[in-house]
Symmetry: C2
C-alpha cells in the first residue's frame, strides 16, 4: 500500500465475527503498513457476567444511545473478558501468524485517558433517572508517544477498553469511539470499523439495502432514519474521527475473508470528506495527543 500513516482497525465482538479471518488478513497487511488493532468483546462479557451471577444491564441515554451499565462489579468482569480472554486470544493468534503483537488496555501506560462520568442520566419507561456507581467515560487523551514507540519498534498494538480516568480510576469506554480517538491521535488516514453487519443498512438486517456512502451533511438524517442500537455509536465514532482529521472511515463486515481489504475497497459504508464539529447530540469530541505524559 502507498499510505505511510498507520491504519487503525476496530473489530467488534458480536456473533458471527471470525477473529481468525481478521488475524489472517492483518498478518498479511502488516508487512506493508503499520496497524493498530482495537477490539470489543461485548457478547462474551454478557455470557461470563451471567455465569458469575451478575447479568448485564443496558441503559439508554436521553439522546438515544444504548450502553452497558457499568458498576464496579461489571467493570471487573468486563476487564476479565476484554483484557484477559479476548485481548490475549487475539495476541496469541497474531503471534502464531508471525506478528509480534502486544496487548494493552487503555489503562496501561495511561494509554486512553478521560473524565469519568460518575453520574449517569438514563431513560427508563419514558422517564429520566440518575444512576450512580457508574464507571464509564470517554477517551479525551491518547498516549501517542507510547503507540509510536511500539510501532517504531516493530510491535502491533492490540488495544482494548477500559480506559483510565484523570483521577486514576478504570472506566469503561466505547471501543468504536476509542478507536476513533486513537486514529485521530496517530494521524491515521483511515479507520476501518468491522462488525457482523456489512455497514449502515437502510432496512436492517437486509444486506441488499446497504448505504454505500454517507456525505457529511447526510449523517444526522440517515442515522435518525436507519441506525439502531450499536450502529448509532459507530456513526458517532466515525464522525468524531473525521472531524479530527482522519480522511476515511470504513464500516465493514468481519464475517467473511479479507474484511479489511473489502472495507477499504468500498464494499461496506464509506464516510469521508470535510467533517466539522456538529451540533446537539451529534457534537463530536476532540481528542488530544499526549506527547509528554509521564
Amino acid at each position: 500500500m502507498a499510505s505511510q500513516s498507520p491504519l487503525v482497525v476496530k473489530v467488534g465482538g458480536g456473533a458471527g465475527i471470525d477473529l481468525d479471518l481478521v488475524c489472517d488478513e492483518i498478518a498479511a497487511l502488516v508487512a506493508d503498513r503499520e496497524i493498530v488493532l482495537v477490539h470489543g468483546g461485548s457478547q462474551r462479557t454478557n455470557e461470563v457476567a451471567a455465569a458469575l451471577g451478575h447479568p448485564p444491564r443496558f441503559v439508554t441515554s436521553p439522546s438515544g444511545f444504548v450502553s452497558r451499565l457499568t458498576d464496579r462489579a461489571t467493570l471487573e468482569i468486563f476487564e476479565m473478558v476484554y483484557c484477559g480472554q479476548v485481548n490475549k486470544s487475539l495476541v496469541e493468534r497474531l503471534i502464531a501468524r508471525g506478528v509480534t503483537a502486544i496487548g494493552l488496555s487503555g489503562i496501561d501506560g495511561r494509554l486512553w485517558q478521560g473524565t469519568r462520568k460518575d453520574v449517569l442520566r438514563v431513560v427508563e419507561d419514558g422517564r429520566t433517572r440518575i444512576i450512580r456507581d457508574n464507571y464509564t467515560g470517554r477517551v479525551e487523551r491518547v498516549n501517542r508517544t507510547l503507540l509510536d514507540n511500539l510501532l517504531t519498534s516493530g510491535y502491533l498494538p492490540v488495544l482494548t477498553p477500559p480506559a483510565i480516568s484523570f483521577a486514576g480510576e478504570a472506566m469503561n469506554v466505547d471501543g468504536d469511539r476509542a478507536a476513533a480517538a486513537t486514529a485521530a491521535a496517530l494521524g491515521a488516514s483511515e479507520l476501518v470499523i468491522l462488525s457482523n453487519v456489512p455497514g449502515l443498512l437502510a432496512d436492517f438486517p437486509d444486506p441488499t439495502t446497504r448505504i454505500p456512502y454517507i456525505r457529511p451533511g447526510d449523517l444526522e438524517p440517515l442515522a435518525q432514519r436507519h441506525a439502531r442500537g450499536r450502529m448509532r455509536i459507530k456513526l458517532l465514532a466515525a464522525a468524531e474521527a473525521l472531524a479530527c482529521g482522519v480522511q476515511r472511515v470504513l464500516l465493514g463486515d468481519a464475517t467473511a475473508p479479507r474484511p479489511v481489504a473489502r472495507a477499504l475497497a468500498g464494499e461496506g459504508t464509506v464516510m469521508s470528506g470535510e467533517w466539522q464539529v456538529a451540533s446537539g447530540e451529534w457534537q463530536v469530541a476532540r481528542v488530544k495527543q499526549v506527547s509528554e505524559l509521564i
Copy 2:
C-alpha cells in the same frame, strides 16, 4: 537506594496478601529505583474456574512439585483472571498512586518465550500417569529489549503469566520462576518474592521457626525437610535466579506494610552466594536474554 540495577518484585495471589500495601510501597520505592512487578492470582482463578463450571485440578510431578493442571479451557480462565482482573487491578492501583504502570502478559511482545510441555507426567496414588492437552511450559527467553525500552521510558512493567511457546501457543508458566528468569535477564541484583508466609519455615505454619538464611549447599536438604507445595517451587525459582547471576533472593511476607523493605532488610528468608547449576531434580534453568527478537 544505592543499587542502579532494576529490582524485580514478585507478589503472589494467596489469601491475606494486601495488594494495596504492596502498591503503596512500590509507589514510594520507584522514585529511587527501576522496578518490575510480577504477580500471581491462583486463589482467585480457583474461585472463577469453579463459578464457570470448570473447577481447578492440581497435579504432582514425579519430583514432587505441585502445579495446576492446565487444559485449554483452564488456560483461558487463567488468562481472564491473571491478565484481566489481577493485572489491571494492580495497574489501576499504581496509576492511582501516580506511577505509570503498564501491564503485560508473557504472551505480549513475546515477552516470555519457552517450550510447551504438551505431555505431562504426573503421580497419582503412587502411579505415574501421562496427561495430554497440557498448556504449561517454562520461560527460556526473556524479551529484555522490550522491558529496557519501557523502563527507560519511565514505565513500571507489571508482568503476569501466561507465556508464549516458540510455536506461538499461550502456556501457563510458574510466576515465581518467570520472575526469576526476568530478574536474570535484566541483570537485577535482587529478586524479592512475596507471599502470605514470612519465608521458609522449619515448622510450617509457625512463624517463629523461620529460617533466616539459606547457604547454597543447604538448599536441597532444607527443601527436602521443610518445604511443602508452593514453597518448593519458590526455592527452585530462587536457585535459578542465583545461578543466573542475581545476587540476592529474598522471600518475604506481603500481609503487612512495607513488605519489600522488610524482605530486603532480611526479615524473611535470605538466599545469596555462589550458586551453581545443581543436579537431579534441582537442576536449575538457564535463561537467555533476547536482544534481537523481532
